[in-house]
């Protein structure tokens, strides 16, 4: 496999992990966040500082990065999750920008605007795909557990969820922390793939891009989010010459989707092969008389 294709796949994997986090938060708990790039930054800087300055092994950095991001989410969530709708979104936006500006200002530790370089290139194709698969399966099973169903109950009707005895504050907190941990993991992988990070990589447009991807994929579909991420990462690579139109089209896509088909590509449905099999079966049965006649029931 050429290095270029490998690079694109690794990038898709990193984006998928970050988007899965936003999907759990936005698609399944209906909490909108504009600060997930901030959690990515925390994961990236924490892991990169560990491996470059303290010589920690890569797996340790991969564990510590997301944990620190989740702890930051715990702290922020404790303060802000009681706010609703717009107000929660605004605080996450403020948080994301604060983190970026803080890393920009703390030059002795983070390298400031010049960024942090010399990070060992540890993110290989194998590791990226492996962690992405684990992250997807983790999210999938989590959402089908009691915890995940509680989140969906909160999404549909928060007051009703509370009435049936779900501790909504606690479960929103879980959702927020998991989303931050996913972002942190994506950040850690990103840092060890690019070998260089700077605060500008984790700005507000990056947070917006993550949310845009989830909206396009469908608010409430994990596989939709993955599909949208692949689409939105690979298409710009294919149409390199139109690179400057990329964000323009994202913006337009969001407006069109939210106005005309707010459920996104997949809606609440998950991608499955069953409809394809069914279609195949129908065509197959029509064309093959022995199948329909000789069934013998």
């Amino acid at each position: 496999m050429s290095g270029y294709v490998e690079g694109v796949i690794i990038l898709v994997c990193i984006n998928v992990i970050a988007v899965l986090g936003v999907s759990i938060l936005t698609g399944f708990t209906r909490l909108f966040s504009f600060g997930n790039a901030g959690f990515m930054a925390i994961g990236a800087y924490a892991s990169a500082i560990l491996t470059t300055k303290y010589g920690a092994p890569f797996p340790v950095a991969l564990v510590v990065g997301p944990i620190i991001a989740a702890i930051a989410a715990l702290g922020l969530g404790k303060l802000t999750l009681k706010l609703k709708g717009d107000y929660f979104l605004i605080t996450t936006l403020g948080f994301g920008e604060s983190i970026r500006l803080l890393f920009l200002f703390a030059e002795p530790i983070t390298g400031g605007a010049r960024g942090l370089s010399g990070i060992p290139p540890k993110t290989t194709l194998f590791i990226a795909i492996g962690i992405t698969v684990l992250a997807f399966l983790g999210a999938w099973n989590f959402l089908r557990s009691k915890y995940g169903r509680n989140l969906m109950a909160i999404r549909e009707q928060e007051i009703a969820a509370e009435a049936v005895g779900i501790d909504t504050a606690k479960f929103k907190e879980y959702s927020f922390m998991i989303s931050a941990a996913y972002a942190g993991m994506a950040g850690a992988l990103l840092a060890h793939y690019y070998m260089f990070i700077s605060p500008i990589m984790f700005n507000l447009p990056k947070s917006a891009e993550l949310t845009i991807t989830v909206v396009i994929g469908g608010l409430g579909s994990l596989s939709g989010s993955v599909l949208a991420t692949i689409l939105l990462t690979v298409l710009p690579e294919v149409f390199r010459s139109a690179a400057e139109y990329r964000m323009l089209l994202y913006g337009l896509a969001v407006v069109v989707i939210i106005v005309l088909k707010p459920s996104g590509l997949m809606g609440y449905r998950e991608f499955s092969l069953r409809p394809i099999f069914k279609l195949y079966e129908r065509i197959f049965k029509k064309n093959d008389p022995t199948q329909t006649k000789g069934d013998g029931k």
């Binding site: 209906r30 909108f32 504009f34 303060l79 802000t80 009681k82 706010l83 609703k84 709708g85 717009d86 107000y87 979104l89 605004i90 605080t91 403020g94 948080f95 920008e97 604060s98 500006l101 803080l102 920009l104 200002f105 447009p205 917006a208 949310t211 845009i212 909206v215 400057e244 139109y245 990329r246 964000m247 323009l248 994202y250 913006g251 337009l252 896509a253 969001v254 407006v255 939210i258 106005v259 707010p262």
Partner: protein, 290 residues
């Protein structure tokens, strides 16, 4: 020195105030934060600068064109996105997502159409400073402050003394009842979007004259937005006070602490306000905030 900084702060705050009142007007009516507002200001600034430089129009005419153009863009946003979302009975949150999409679209459209370069307004006012005792105030700052004061007084009159203001107040307190009482709510929403957009256009032109015009100019609206949160979302007077406060805070922080901390402190202030006094200085409705 301090007095000088205060004057600078007020002049920046005035530009924020024009944007913040737009946020407040739309929030009070529809209950969502119109993220695309900054991009309306940016497009207004571009209309102004292109009319002056490429089309060789007289300056005053270009400004009028910019203000009206920005107002129409704002109405366009309402027509193609927000109104449809309201008619779909989608959650209010979707309005904000659509606004975010519009903001991304306009910003990147400006990069594609106008190029990423910074554009300078031609010198309209002589670069000079007015000496008042030991203070020197830039002529441009003085003129823009004058414009801001006139506009704000006009806005205040419009809201408190006219039928338009009364109708908007009625619609923002209860849209259903207002329309039952014979107020054409959709018309007033459109007018409010036009008003907010034109205010954004003025602030875009003033900002462009003070600094430069560039595709990311709309990001300045984030400050104005913080100002309107600070003053209390939905309160026009609060937005003006909040904007002045943010302008002063920013100049004082960059003058006496560190310019690198300027935005950080503003954002921390935003979070602190939302945590301790989500209604802001003058906000009323606390229903969906706590």
């Amino acid at each position: 020195m301090l007095l000088q900084q205060l004057i600078n702060g007020i002049s920046v705050g005035g530009i924020y105030a024009l944007l913040a009142t737009g946020y407040a007007l739309i929030y009070s009516l529809l209950g969502f934060s119109n993220w695309a507002h900054g991009e309306v200001a940016m497009l207004g600034a571009y209309i102004g600068i292109l009319s002056v430089t490429s089309l060789q129009m007289p300056f005053l005419f270009a400004v009028i064109l910019a203000v009206v153009g920005a107002g129409l863009i704002s109405v366009f946003n309402e027509k193609i996105a927000y109104k449809r979302i309201r008619d779909n009975n989608s959650p209010t949150m979707f309005l904000m997502i659509a606004a975010m999409g519009l903001s991304t679209t306009f910003q990147n459209m400006a990069i594609v159409v106008f190029g990423p370069k910074f554009k300078m307004f031609p010198q309209i006012l002589p670069v000079g400073a007015v000496k008042i005792g030991s203070l020197s105030v830039g002529l441009l700052d003085l003129v823009s402050l004058g414009i801001v004061i006139v506009v704000i007084i006009g806005l205040q009159y419009l809201i408190t003394k006219t039928k338009f203001g009364l109708a908007v107040k009625a619609a923002s307190s209860n849209m259903g009842t207002a329309s039952l009482l014979g107020i054409n709510v959709d018309k007033y929403i459109m007018l409010v979007f036009f008003l907010a957009g034109s205010l954004a256009g003025i602030s875009g032109v003033l900002y462009g004259m003070k600094y430069t015009v560039y595709p990311q100019l709309g990001n300045v609206a984030l400050k104005a937005f913080i100002a309107s949160v600070f003053g209390g979302l939905g309160s026009v007077q609060g937005a003006i006070v909040g904007a002045m406060g943010i302008g002063l805070l920013e100049t004082l922080v960059s003058a006496y602490i560190h310019s690198g901390l300027r935005d950080l402190i503003t954002f921390i202030l935003l979070i602190a306000i939302l945590l301790f006094r989500p209604t802001g200085l003058m906000g009323k409705d606390i229903q969906d905030k706590a």
